[in-house]
């Protein structure tokens, strides 16, 4: 046996530890090991170090989905400006949970780029006006499709992301923050943020995972309320002129015209904007109830039936009609796992719990 060529060094010993040696090499190694106490000590020390070094842990691996969202966005941004590719990938990120076949992202062909630019500017202008008027008039927000509208002016590009009923979408912003946009919602955000702040506008409901950046506060404007953070996770619900902010991680500060000094809230707390324009004091809430929508759940906490049915309407893209007013104010509490419970089961449970009649015909629900 010609084993003289084997040199016992760290490279060889590490291969022994990794069990990457042949039978011959193993035998050779064992002979070497038994040759002297020094050899035993040398190998023993290396083995101990090697195993002990496993204790150097890497904390929390970043979520691959979120990272991929950022990378995917960036490799698109580098190669295309506004074309089908970027739409395709946004569509890719769209949650599959919505059963709405109509949901799609609008598509802009490259040939008509100039027309599109002009149109986009107009759409954006109108949509600002629309948002404004929807606040004033308390009109429900209504759109058929999820759209991403690109508006280009010389300085910056604004995106407008709209989800239809029954559809939820997740996507990254240019700074690496992630937005989870709930059904029937709209977010307006710039392609690139300005130098001193990251400002977005929201109608509907969204959950934000904000990339920390001390120099560029992250601001979510919803109607008369502004939420300011530097890096944290929180949920904003802005529906039917009622705005609620819930914090999942870190600290958030909220401002309104009537509360110019702002109100801070921490993890597990909620504030809302009252009709008189003041922000309420933070109250402790059950986070699960408020964040359930992100996990395909419908959650209600002493929610009036009228409000709950509105959630269901949005979630399933279905119309709800109350045949009388008497049950509208009755409240329900509970979480429905929508991927395990069908709409009809949910309606059955509601009907049994409240002892009322709920009929589901075609695409419409009638509540007694």
């Amino acid at each position: 046996m010609q084993n003289n060529y084997i040199k016992i060094d760290s490279q060889f010993l590490i291969r022994v530890i990794r069990n990457q040696v042949s039978e011959n090499e193993k035998e050779y190694f064992e002979n070497w090991l038994n040759e002297s106490e020094e050899h035993k000590e040398e190998f023993g020390n290396l083995l101990l170090l090697w195993e002990e070094m496993d204790k150097a842990k890497v904390p929390d691996l970043p979520a691959a989905e979120e990272q991929w969202a950022v990378i995917s966005e960036k490799i698109k941004n580098k190669t295309v400006h506004v074309d089908t590719e970027s739409i395709r990938h946004l569509e890719y990120l769209s949650f599959k949970s919505g059963k709405n076949k109509n949901s799609r992202l609008s598509f802009i062909s490259q040939n008509s780029i100039w027309l599109v630019r002009i149109a986009a500017i107009l759409i954006l202008t109108f949509s600002f006006a629309y948002i404004y008027s929807s606040f004033i008039s308390n009109k429900p927000f209504n759109r058929d499709n999820t759209r991403t509208t690109f508006s280009s002016n010389t300085s910056n590009i604004k995106y407008e992301k709209v989800t239809s009923k029954g559809e939820r979408v997740t996507f990254p912003l240019s700074d690496g923050s992630i937005v989870y946009l709930n059904s029937d919602s709209k977010l307006i955000y710039p392609k690139y943020f300005s130098n001193n702040e990251r400002k977005l506008e929201l109608v509907g409901e969204a959950y934000f995972t904000v990339k920390p950046n001390r120099d560029k506060p992250f601001k979510v404007v919803c109607g008369n309320m502004t939420v300011v953070v530097t890096g944290t996770e929180f949920n904003v619900k802005n529906r039917d002129n009622r705005i609620k902010v819930v914090v999942a991680k870190g600290t958030v500060r909220t401002y309104s015209e009537k509360t110019p000094d702002g109100i801070s809230l921490q993890k597990g707390e909620m504030v809302s904007l009252e009709k008189n324009g003041f922000i309420t004091k933070p109250v402790k809430v059950d986070l699960d109830l408020y964040l359930a929508w992100r996990q395909n759940k419908l959650s209600f906490s002493r929610t009036p039936l009228a409000e709950a049915m509105k959630e269901i309407e949005r979630y399933y893209n279905i119309d709800v009609e109350f045949l009388s007013n008497e049950n509208k104010t009755r409240t329900i509490t509970g979480i429905f796992q929508t991927d395990k419970t069908s709409l009809d089961d949910i309606l059955n449970i509601l009907s049994l719990t409240l002892d009322i009649k709920i009929n589901h015909e075609n695409n419409k629900i009638f509540v007694q």
Binding site: Q11, N19, M53, A56, V58, Q67, G176, P212
Partner: protein, 190 residues
Amino acid sequence: MVELNDASNIVLEKISALVKNIKCGDEDSFKEFFYLTQPGIYKFLYRYLCDRDLSNDLTQDTFIKFWESRENIDPDFSPKSYLYKIARNLALNYINRNSSFGKISKIKSERLIPYSDPEKEYERKFILDDFQSAVNELPERCRATFIFCKYEGFEYSEVADIMNVSLQTVKNQMNKAIAILKKRLSNHLS
């Protein structure tokens, strides 16, 4: 480590198949490639830099750079090594550009000041343990060599490729790393 060998061969075959598609611009393959290799790259960067946010950013940059240079990827050269090469170069550039970075004592002392800010306090939970700091205190080349061998499971010859040095240099760096670590962690290794 034994079962890892077989598994890693399958993974390597998978990677090389994916990279062929990536070279043609196939994004779905790139996505799969990303999911397969992202944990390793992030872990390497974290061990090398000991900074979560920075490692997170550089992980993203590594894949973006890989995608951008996909046409130049040499199929004969392990794509996985190429990816780690990018990651290490990006990290090295960062260290060189930010001369204050890498001085572990500075980072450590910064992290030990109690923060009134809850976010900072949250970050502080990730104070380095003894083993992490021992790795972090190694000289740059030693550190990279050791992490590649110990934690990423590369052979000496692969490390030589990634770091663009001779096999002998890898051996020297590895011996140096082992010696330093033994001394530094002597209280743990009794």
